[in-house]
Amino acid sequence: MLRVGLDLGSSYTKGVLVDAEGGIVDAFVRRTGYDYREAAREILERLSVGRRVDAPVFTCGYGREQVDGPIEPCTEIVALTRAVHALYPRAVDVLDIGGQDMKFIRLTAAGAIDSFRLNPKCAAGTGSFVEEAALRLGVDVAAFDALARAAEEPVRIGSYCTVFAVSEMLGALKNGAPLAGVVLGIYESVVDRATSLAALQGDLVLTGGLVAHHPRLVDLFRRRVPRVDAPARSQLLAAYGCALPRAVDASPRDRDA
């Protein structure tokens, strides 16, 4: 039995092939682009090479309904919750930073959602913000992590709006601030934004593409919140969670019983 989980996000579509024991057999990620169906089709094709995968396809994310064939959609928060609880079977806080969303989820010891909160309708502090900054600074976003590690001091960025924040960075560079400090400042502003979503109590699990691609962020979170963990391949977690077999994903009620 091989189940496919697809997380059709605003920036990237993530596909995971999960076996009956809940192990990841294969995974594939691509930019979503403008056509969710095409993104889903390509990933499904790649995951199906030489294998027979089961229907339906389990989907989550903004494009969760935009997939041809039989699907079982759920929201990415529900999917993420299942995955996180499978990895951390205790009460934890989750911060998920994606392409345009930032989500805070508080999970009970049984893996149920206690409460959750999304970023207000503004993408500051998300993946899009970091990508926009890289684009306007003319720096490969893949170089950000190393730059941030080399920085001595962050250049504090105060603007609330991504466009103005980048103008602020350009202004700082013009006045002689080092690029590394600006990049660290970008990271700090992500952490500022994320930690204002909720009063974090510790035992924090960081997920989503931004942290996966910018591991330096994890260290910065650790300076502010006790007990921070970032699971490997965390960009895939929501896709993984929606495909998790029910045996692994016992409902909260079953667990309590």
Partner: protein, 412 residues
């Protein structure tokens, strides 16, 4: 797992009577503005309508007009016009859409034969809901050269004490003389008492209408109530409002005894705090219904329940009724009120809609959801949006959040 089968909300038979009742209101308003036989007063939605009706005015409510702009999805065309004229996009989108429509010289009332909004002979506001209505009315007062009168209500009230009631009742009495001049007739205490009596009667019927949703399954949702609240807003103090709600109540009581649900197969019950999202009202109504969720009660629709009104003491009781408004109260009072509503309507969770341009009706801004969770143990959800400005609302994000929330409620 959320049920995805297609379930549509049950339509109320009274919708035809609602249309007739509202048609009658607009017809009277149209005649007044065309013939000049009746003077026209503009009034805020929780302003002193009874006093105005008792003085023979035809009463027009710009907030009702603005809500129509929202529900008809035309507000987005008008808001930028008001912004271009110097109004901030952060102020009340009722104001900006209404002012923008004026600047475009357009109104949905033209479909009813109006050539523009009815010209005011006087404008009367009450700040019990917000202070922006004052600026809104001042603009029209300047434009039409009409006097603007106001009642200033103390806000953040824990309890409405006698001193506050006296203060506001004094202001209401102070309106009489200037209104007599505009009305060209003398104040008739008996007529005022009768208007207050009729207002109370309509208000009690409206409360009973809303309370039918305590039944399981609920015969009425917040989305229905947002549509059927028209008469209690614009005809408070007049007979047609009483007649309409008597009929609506009978239909709903019939539904209750027959076990008819507004949302067929009701599984979950949710409370809605904050403004309706007018431009998504029907879409959200379907969205919840498809997920077998009944939004059974709301702060908003309950804001037109005025039990203290008493024809024996019309000024004092009006003052009290209009000060006891939810949004004029303290955070502690609000917490208690929401706690009671959640229990009375047996809801599974509480949704807070934060309307970007309506701080006063966005009750999550001082951490109330967290306190409500503590005292009730009920899950809460905050979504970002607006009553009229669609740019403040992310549909995808909100749907995802609501769906997750319903899943969360289902797992409890």
């Amino acid at each position: 797992v959320v049920s995805q089968s297609i379930v549509t909300p049950e339509r109320l038979q009274s919708t035809a009577a609602l249309k007739q009742t509202m048609d009658g209101y607009y017809q009277r308003l149209l005649e007044a503005s065309q013939t000049g036989r009746q003077r026209v007063a503009w009034c805020t939605s929780v302003g002193p309508a009874e006093l105005l009706y008792s003085l023979g005015f035809a009463v027009y409510f710009p907030e009702n007009h603005a809500a129509i702009l929202g529900a008809s999805k035309t507000a987005d065309r008008y808001i930028p016009r008001a912004v271009a004229a110097g109004y901030s996009a952060e102020v009340c989108s009722y104001l900006t859409s209404d002012v923008g429509a004026l600047l475009c010289d357009e109104t949905p009332l033209s479909a009813r034969g109006f050539r523009g909004v009815p010209r005011p002979d006087v404008l009367v506001y009450n700040t019990n809901q917000c202070h922006e209505v004052q600026d809104w009315f001042e603009l029209y007062g300047r434009r039409f050269g009409a006097p603007v009168l106001g009642v200033h209500t103390p806000l953040g009230l824990e309890e409405v004490d006698e001193a506050t009631v006296e203060y506001v009742a004094g202001q209401l009495r102070g309106l009489v003389q200037p209104l007599e001049r505009v009305a060209r007739r003398g104040f008739d205490p008996e007529a005022f008492a009768q208007a207050v009596g009729r207002s109370r009667e309509a208000s009690v019927l409206w409360r009973r209408v809303l309370e039918t949703a305590r039944s399981r399954p609920a015969p009425l949702t917040f989305f229905d109530a947002s549509v059927h609240m028209g008469p209690i807003v614009v005809m408070r103090g007049t007979q047609p409002a009483i007649d309409y709600y008597a009929g609506l109540l009978a239909e709903l009581e019939g539904r209750v005894s027959a076990g008819v649900a507004a949302v067929p197969g009701e599984l979950r019950r949710v409370y809605w705090d904050g403004m309706p999202i007018w431009f998504k009202l029907s879409a959200l109504s379907r969205f919840f219904a498809e997920r077998r969720t009944s939004v059974v009660a709301s702060t908003y629709c309950n804001s037109w329940v005025f039990d203290p009104l008493d024809p024996a003491r019309p000024f004092e009781s009006s003052a009290r009724a209009y000060c006891e408004l939810f949004i004029a109260r303290s955070e502690r009072f609000k917490l208690g009120a929401l706690q009671k509503m959640a229990a009375d309507f047996a809801v599974d969770g509480v949704l807070f809609h934060d309307a970007r341009t309506c701080a006063r009706n966005s009750n999550g801004r001082f951490a109330l959801p967290g306190r409500l969770r503590e005292v009730t143990g009920l899950p809460t959800l905050e979504i970002q949006g607006d009553m009229n400005d669609a740019r403040c609302y992310s549909e995808e994000q909100s749907k995802m959040a609501i769906e997750t929330f319903l899943d969360q409620l289902g797992a409890r």
